[in-house]
């Protein structure tokens, strides 16, 4: 075994961590939970294969995205990251409705400001 610390993947899988370990750059030994989640959801061989199929300069981003998706799946075993997407879409819909209402109020107030003789109705 080499002198440097095994990466989180090799430590988890209880194997020798070679100098050219494909997972070592993305799963440092300082964050064992990150790989544990990824292995649980995707599997080590799947992740290694997926990263190998991606250009080298994009593998870090891919590993981060995979780790996040694994985290969301562990937190929500039924919906995973799709649950997060659904929640965000609901938030967007609600915010758009709120914005439309607020902008309608602005238009109303602006119209009243130009017609000062109109009775101000504090209930709106």
């Amino acid at each position: 075994m080499s002198n440097f610390t095994r990466c989180a993947a090799c430590r988890y899988l209880r194997r020798r961590c070679c100098g050219d370990c494909t997972l070592a750059p993305f799963f440092p030994s300082t964050n064992p939970t990150r790989f544990a989640y990824v292995h649980r959801v995707f599997g080590a061989s799947n992740v290694a294969r997926m990263l190998q199929q991606i250009p080298a300069e994009q593998r870090r981003q891919a590993a981060d995205a995979i780790a996040l998706e694994a985290y969301w799946r562990v937190q929500d075993p039924v919906y995973g990251s799709v649950g997060v997407i659904s929640r965000l879409q609901r938030e967007i819909n609600a915010a758009q409705r709120e914005l439309a209402e607020t902008q309608a109020h602005i238009t109303l107030y602006a119209a009243r400001a130009q017609s000062p003789t109109t009775q101000f109705d504090p209930s709106i």
């Binding site: 995707f42 061989s45 799947n46 991606i54 996040l68 039924v78 997407i85 602006a110």
Partner: protein, 170 residues
């Protein structure tokens, strides 16, 4: 391979094994939709999916399979960012809308203050509380633990057009 003339499910057909009566995949991967299991197997692996389904109550498994199929399809189309890219884009949309809403609400307050000063009317505090209901969107439900991202620049790069903006559910 199949028992009593029943066609094997898509998963057993792909894995070339006997499709038993209590096959956990059979209800969710019918033989006429081989693509669904193919992409799920490619991204997650059959044994991982098996374990995930085993750990779920039966009434949750259909939704779990649907979400896995969706995640796998997004990852196949975007092998780098997958669903994380979609989530980052939506999160940016939420932030922008929150800013627009804050600006609009500030504008309303300005207009009302101008009207108060010009008409010498006092607006009661309960109206201000009613107007402030829009500020509930201070915090998004987006939950992205920093410790799962090794490189701080990665989130800036995932903010791009998602491949699918429609709802993941039919």
């Amino acid at each position: 391979m199949a028992g009593h003339g029943r066609s094997p499910c898509a998963s057993c057909k792909l894995l070339r094994r006997r499709c038993s009566k209590d096959c956990i995949f059979a209800p969710h991967f019918p033989p006429d939709q081989p693509h669904r299991f193919s992409i799920v197997h490619k991204v997650f692996g059959a044994s991982n999916v098996n374990k995930m389904l085993q750990e779920l109550p039966v009434h949750h498994r259909a939704d779990a399979v649907s979400s896995l199929v969706y995640e796998a399809s997004v990852r196949m189309k975007d092998p780098v960012y997958g669903c994380a890219g979609t989530i980052s884009y939506l999160h940016n949309q939420v932030s922008q809308l929150q800013m627009q809403l804050a600006v609009a609400q500030a504008e309303i307050l300005c207009i009302k203050m101008q009207q108060e000063s010009s008409s010498s009317l006092l607006i009661s505090s309960r109206h201000d509380a009613h107007e402030n209901k829009g500020f509930v969107f201070q915090h998004s439900s987006f939950d992205s633990p920093r410790e799962f991202i090794n490189y701080s620049s990665s989130r800036n790069h995932v903010a791009q057009e998602p491949l699918k903006r429609e709802s993941p559910w039919p």
